[in-house]
């Protein structure tokens, strides 16, 4: 007989085994059970255990205790909230000849945003102050790595496709604080927007044949001329570049980061169900190994 089958027979009540055990074992020797037969054995054992008057009560008590324990544990476990947002990269306003591969462009931005410097700034931003406990125990490098690989998820609608005019990007962040989860996604979006704008400006100036050095040189010459002519220089203000309409990839927020009301983990129902199952199995184990079993009125014994 297969060892598994022998073990499953032990799940039957001792009194039942005393009455039918030998012939049941003989049947399993004549017809070794298949995988479904094993399941049938387990089902039969549970049914037989339920016939013992004390078992349903024991199973009910332990299952209810397990259910409540599962519910209790679900409140103790650190929750995890996920905030999500969707961005769209749109290159339709760019002339076709200068339109770059959107996926490639997105990957460049993503790499920059997920860099150590960028994530470190987000983590240590006093408004967010992420992973405070973890940072006490583990090096910042490890915290950044965890944030990058486990908590931040950035994905495109169709990765790998080329020559596209638009691209949807989903950004999500999982954290124990729902508000910080939302704020972090917002911070990531802001970084995407800033970086995209910087790239647009650089592209615009490069196209016009100017560089920041050129602008600096022109400003110095203007300052010299103003001094010679005795013109009082106005207070320095921000440069109004790019004055001309910017060509490049537009980045829009299609769905702003949502405030996750319910945690994705722990799932209270799963915890309760697991506790209930564990309680029932415990009752089964207790019933199997209990020394003193109440008598079962099997006909052969009562006759």
């Amino acid at each position: 007989m297969k060892p598994v089958a022998r073990a499953l027979i032990r799940l039957y009540p001792a009194n039942w085994r005393a009455r039918y055990g030998d012939e049941f074992a003989a049947l399993l020797e004549d017809s070794p059970p298949t995988r479904s037969g094993m399941f049938d054995l387990l089902k039969g054992a549970i049914k037989m255990q339920l016939k013992i008057p004390a078992f349903p009560k024991l199973a009910l008590i332990l299952s209810a205790a397990g259910l409540l324990a599962g519910l209790g544990v679900s409140f103790v476990v650190t929750p995890r909230y996920i905030s999500q947002a969707v961005l769209t990269f749109d290159a339709t306003s760019t002339p076709k000849d200068s339109r770059r591969n959107l996926n490639e462009y997105f990957v460049q931005l993503e790499n920059e945003i997920l860099s150590r410097t960028s994530l470190s700034a987000i983590i240590q931003d006093p408004r967010l102050d992420l992973y405070r406990r973890e940072r006490v125990r583990t090096p910042l490098e490890d915290v950044i790595e965890k944030m990058r690989t486990e908590d931040i998820q950035i994905g495109t609608d169709t990765p790998g496709s080329v020559n596209r005019e638009s691209l949807a990007v989903q950004i999500s962040f999982g954290y124990s604080d729902l508000i910080k989860a939302q704020q972090t996604v917002q911070a990531l979006i802001t970084k995407f927007q800033d970086l995209n704008l910087t790239r647009q400006r650089v592209a615009a100036y490069t196209k016009r044949g100017r560089t920041y050095d050129d602008v600096d040189r022109m400003e110095q010459r203007i300052a010299v001329l103003e001094k010679r002519l005795g013109i009082q220089s106005p207070a320095p203000g921000p440069l109004d570049f790019p004055a001309a309409p910017v060509e490049g990839t537009n980045l829009d927020v299609l769905y702003p980061p949502g405030l996750p009301v319910y945690p994705v983990y722990p799932n209270r129902y799963t915890f309760m169900l697991t506790g209930f199952g564990a309680g029932f199995i415990s009752a089964l184990v207790v019933a199997v190994f209990r020394r003193r079993l109440p008598p079962i009125p099997f006909p052969a014994q009562t006759a």
Binding site: S36, D40, A45
Partner: protein, 95 residues
């Protein structure tokens, strides 16, 4: 129609059989292979009801026999089934 107790009673209606023989017989006449747990669950229930009893001396391959009350129960159940089959077939013809 696949009530294991009814299948076991039907199997024992033409003579005593042990567990493995019942399993094979049921597979032959009903096309249903009862699992060992299901078969012995049915045997336990039937013995509790007094519809079957161990036949002959106690042995590892214990044969079972149908009792007169078991036979009577089987007859009633089969008559009910026959009525259901007859009614169903008649209604299928008129549908």
């Amino acid at each position: 129609m696949s009530d294991p107790t009814l299948l076991v009673l039907s199997s024992l209606a033409d003579g005593d059989k042990h567990g493995y023989a019942m399993m094979q017989d049921i597979e032959t006449f009903a096309g249903i292979r009862l699992g060992p747990g299901t078969l012995y669950g049915a045997i336990t229930r039937l013995e509790e009801c007094g519809w079957i009893r161990p036949a002959g001396a106690k042995s590892r391959r214990q044969p079972y026999a149908i009792t007169p009350s078991g036979r009577q129960h089987l007859q009633q159940e089969l008559a009910t089934l026959q009525q259901i089959v007859k009614t169903g077939l008649t209604r299928m013809k008129h549908a």
